[in-house]
């Protein structure tokens, strides 16, 4: 099994702050951020020169449909009170979706680094508690002594549950897909070597079987599972933030 892990898969579990901070996943995550920034400018200029009297087509139509869909979803789930959240949700969708998609190019998958998923979940976590404090004013602190005052330490511990569950859900999904694909590539390399090892030169003989079998699995693990996890992450974000509202029906 040694061959699979020469990619350095499993020395990334630690949250490295300091000298090891800029490993492959962090750099790819920064690349994704760069792509999103460039895309935002492109979208801005495309929509600035658009004629509002004609219907959009092509790229503009796709972007308009995507933004409208997610904005409507945010409005439906969170109500009019959280009107400004559409931007955050769209940014989150683009970031997580692109992080899953960029792994298809062969770059290291950013979401297999716990630091990346933990920072995304931390944004949501801060939003949850910030909005709870804003909506409930001083009675926000009452939840920590909710049934009985001596349960304060337990409540303080359970405060961190959304952070852990959000980050580990994304991390576990990305990492399990990545590990299964890694093991499969290793095994198919061996199979290919045992079939073609005798009569094909050294470069090609261990990569001939994998391209036949792996694309469909990439479709499942990266595209399907990844995009569904993106949807789940944004839905949980919206639900968790809007749950803290004391009177949610008052929109």
């Amino acid at each position: 099994m040694g061959k699979v892990f020469t990619l350095g898969t499993f020395d990334r579990f630690a949250l490295k702050i300091g000298e090891g901070a800029f490993n492959g996943e962090t750099i790819v995550s920064l690349m994704v951020m760069g792509i999103i920034v460039i895309l935002s400018f492109v979208i801005y200029f495309v929509f600035r020169h658009l004629d509002p009297t004609k219907p959009e087509k092509g790229f503009a139509l796709f972007i308009a449909l995507f933004f409208e869909k997610i904005d409507n979803m945010a409005n439906d789930l969170m109500g009019k009170k959280y009107d400004g959240f559409g931007g955050y949700i769209i940014g989150l969708t683009m970031y997580i979706g692109l992080c899953f998609l960029i792994a298809l190019t062969g770059l290291p998958a950013p979401l297999t680094h716990l630091g990346v998923t933990l920072s995304i979940a931390l944004c949501t976590f801060l939003l949850i508690h910030g909005n709870a404090a804003r909506a409930n004013k001083l009675s926000y602190f009452h939840r920590y002594i909710e049934p009985l005052p001596f349960l304060l330490p337990i409540n303080l511990l359970s405060m961190w549950a959304p952070l852990l569950s959000l980050s580990l859900r994304l991390f576990g999904n990305a990492l399990s897909g990545f590990t299964i694909m890694g093991v499969l590539y290793w095994a198919l390399g061996k199979v290919s070597y045992s079939i073609f090892g005798g009569f094909i030169g050294c470069g090609l003989r261990s990569v001939l079987v994998a391209p036949i079998i792996t694309p469909i699995l990439h479709c499942y693990f990266d595209l399907f599972s990844g995009l569904i996890q993106t949807l789940i992450f944004i839905m949980l974000t919206m639900i968790n933030v809007s749950l803290e509202d004391p009177d949610p029906n008052l929109v």
């Binding site: 499993f10 859900r169 576990g172 999904n173 399990s176 949807l231 789940i232 839905m235």
Partner: protein, 70 residues
């Protein structure tokens, strides 16, 4: 020892399998009762499946951690 730990951790798949089966069974029932909302039900079913699957994924994660890190 690590291998036994990983095997125990992967047993979380038991619960998440039952849960996912319940989700799909109820969704099928709903689809059979009124087929006109089958599209919405299917979307929500896939979403619910992915949400239920999370516990299994936690187990898999701990199994991988047991095998390769600990």
């Amino acid at each position: 020892m690590n291998t036994i730990g990983a095997a125990i951790a992967v047993f979380t798949g038991f619960g998440s399998g039952i849960g996912e089966g319940l989700v799909v069974a109820k969704a099928m029932e709903g689809m059979a009762r009124n087929p006109e909302v089958a599209g919405t039900l299917r979307t929500n079913m896939i979403l619910g499946c992915a949400l239920v699957e999370t516990t299994g994924i936690y187990g898999l994660l701990i199994g991988i951690l047991c095998l390769f890190v600990g």
